[in-house]
Symmetry: C2
Subunit: 396 residues, 2 copies
């Protein structure tokens, strides 16, 4: 799909209104004589199915003045939460505004991404042209070529932190790797050689947890969904990332599973101290039952759409604690920690200890038609072959 | 039932083998010429239905020597956990021993109680004859007239702490009031004027939580089971204890309940920071849903025998934490805290801020027949009219 998309883009005819010289790499953006940026954004005026409600809106951005900064986006992933937000079922609501020169309020989709600072007002401190920034909080609207905002909405990636890091790596570090990182760090101290267990191990968070766990000397039991084919290949792939054990949900639910856990954990002497759950339902209950006393079980998703069902004995007699984690709120409460976490993951990435998630790169050039951008959102909604999509901005 | 039991006891003929003079108050215990205590204990040799497996065992206790202490029990309640332990379904297992001069190992039933020290070995430090003691850990075996043990198993009630306190009050403080006290204190700081919500509000723990909450300036929403009659009387009774609001489970599950909570809590500005759950099932879920963000929900029982069912959103987006509490383990881990907690509750009792639970006093005299003692256990199992039973030792 990526190659087809690329070739299609390469053949795309220029719009007659765009002067050919502006498409040279050195003059890639359509900029007016007065320094106004031309910008495009994937927007919606009401909640609904993304293909039905999204539209590509073109507007202009005035030169940055006072405390304003102008950003040019480099990479913005398409996360499931972005889609839920467009559907209106995500608790973090987008901002509907007429600031983008529309008669009715619109919201820009997208919550995560990395942008380059291309304009700085005279009252802005701590940011300069060329800086890379990520968003401090959700609902920024990252599916757009440009934005104008204030410094309090941004986290700057220090030059040392972005060295050798691609835009896609920087643009996808805030949500999944941060979620895995904080869940492995903030609830219970899992010591070296101790275990955590997780479901959805093949997800972005799951893969991040496997790699961070390995970097920190933790062992992991990783649960993946049963699937008609490719189970062994996926098990091998996750093992290569650093998973100690990979099992299917069917294996997790089998009668002998607890005996297998005992074998892996030296008869239980190596404790399973932490569970990470994005599935819910009976598979989550089964996972909670292998935890050691005083363990923490952290829920960050509910892909089965089923609630968590917990025997009281797990709480009362085993003293297992059930918590939740939402990276958006965490980042709002701990902006400094977010910066440190992101920089640490990028450091691991640079050292080769943390690999990119399998993303489907979706080029977003100035002339990329609306239909193609929306098709990429639909693609992530339905599940790309390789993983989620990420908009990569080129010549914008 | 109590009055019937009392009159029956009063009319009980003396056993021919017991010299009449020993039944005078000043010489109430059958003591041998060599200082051996005659003791009786409700024991079992195997798990099962209490009336089927319990039997009254008579044995003698040698004079306390070395590091041993001899105790005479004053009051020992019949708690649901005691019954579960006899049934073999409680995780804290009793000790089966031949130390009470039996050919096969037996266990003494009962986990809570207060006893008087009546004999002290020469190596015992910190205890003297006449001291009142409670048990440090479960499975002591408190349904007996006498016991011999070592100091490490006991918590001494300082003379100041027991001043003006009855044996029943001291003998029933370790489990229910301690459970309520720690759950209100150890999970989240509920500030004065803030709320907690609990089900099983009519239970021993529930009544303790109401009273402690009132003493500490906390407001409470209290859920009781629906019942064919007496709802209004019970609501009044709990309100008199200090409950701010009392509702039935039916009211909790009604559509308009959340609106009512808003009214009580000044539109939600007064936060419900803590939930105490001993029921489980849908009533527990409904209770969790009225909690404020970051609240804690502590499970200490599952009277409905249904698991806890939790929508993931409560964990992820509302950051509610689900914990459990088991007073037995807590006391094992924090013996000093247990002593302080008990003494503080007794202090509140002395000041009139903490009232006795409604107990059915079951006199246990030297001659009380086995059938009568076992009937009292059965009575608690089936639910006394007034509350649980408590053995009160007299002339033993």
């Amino acid at each position: 799909m990526a190659s087809k998309r690329l070739s299609h883009t390469a053949l795309r005819p220029l719009l007659p209104s765009t002067p050919p010289k502006l498409l040279r790499p050195s003059a890639r953006r359509p900029i007016s004589a007065y320094g106004y940026e031309q910008a495009k954004a994937l927007t919606f005026t009401q909640y609904g199915d993304p293909p039905a409600v999204l539209s590509l809106h073109t507007h202009s951005i005035s030169p940055a003045h006072s405390s304003l900064l102008t950003l040019r986006f480099l990479a913005s992933p398409i996360n499931p939460a972005d889609i839920n937000q467009i559907q209106g079922v995500y608790p973090s609501k987008p901002v509907f505004t007429t600031a983008l020169s529309t008669p009715s309020p619109i919201a820009v989709a997208g919550n995560e991404g990395v942008a380059e600072v291309i304009g700085v007002g005279d009252k802005v401190k701590g940011f300069a042209k060329g800086d890379w920034v990520i968003m401090k909080a959700p609902s920024f609207g990252t599916w757009r070529t440009h934005a104008q905002t204030t410094a309090d909405k941004l986290v700057k990636l220090e030059p040392a932190a972005r060295e050798g890091i691609s835009a896609v790596q920087a643009g996808t570090v805030s949500i999944n790797p941060c979620t895995a990182y904080r869940m492995l760090s903030d609830f219970v101290k899992v010591g070296e050689g101790e275990w955590f267990v997780q479901n959805g191990a093949n997800s972005g968070v799951g893969r991040a947890a496997i790699q961070l766990g390995k970097a920190w000397g933790l062992k992991s039991i990783n649960v993946i969904r049963d699937r008609p084919e490719g189970v062994e290949a996926l098990k091998r792939e996750l093992a290569e990332l650093g998973a100690t054990v990979v099992v299917t949900e069917g294996e997790l639910l089998a009668r002998e599973f607890r005996e297998r856990v005992k074998e892996w954990t030296d008869g239980g002497r190596e404790e399973v101290r932490l569970g990470l759950n994005c599935v819910g339902g009976e598979a989550a209950t089964a996972m909670a039952k292998i935890l050691a006393p005083h363990a923490h079980f952290v829920t960050y998703g509910a892909m089965s759409k089923k609630p968590l069902v917990l025997p009281a004995s797990l709480l009362i007699f085993k003293d297992v604690h059930f918590d939740g984690f939402w990276v958006s709120k965490w980042a709002e409460w701990h902006p400094e920690e977010k910066k440190k976490t992101v920089e640490h993951v990028l450091e691991l990435t640079r050292r080769g200890e943390f690999k990119d998630m399998p993303f489907e790169q979706v080029p977003w050039e100035w002339e990329t038609p609306e239909s193609e951008l929306i098709a990429a959102v639909k693609g992530t909604l339905e599940g790309f072959r390789k993983g989620k999509g990420v908009f990569v901005f080129k010549n914008t």
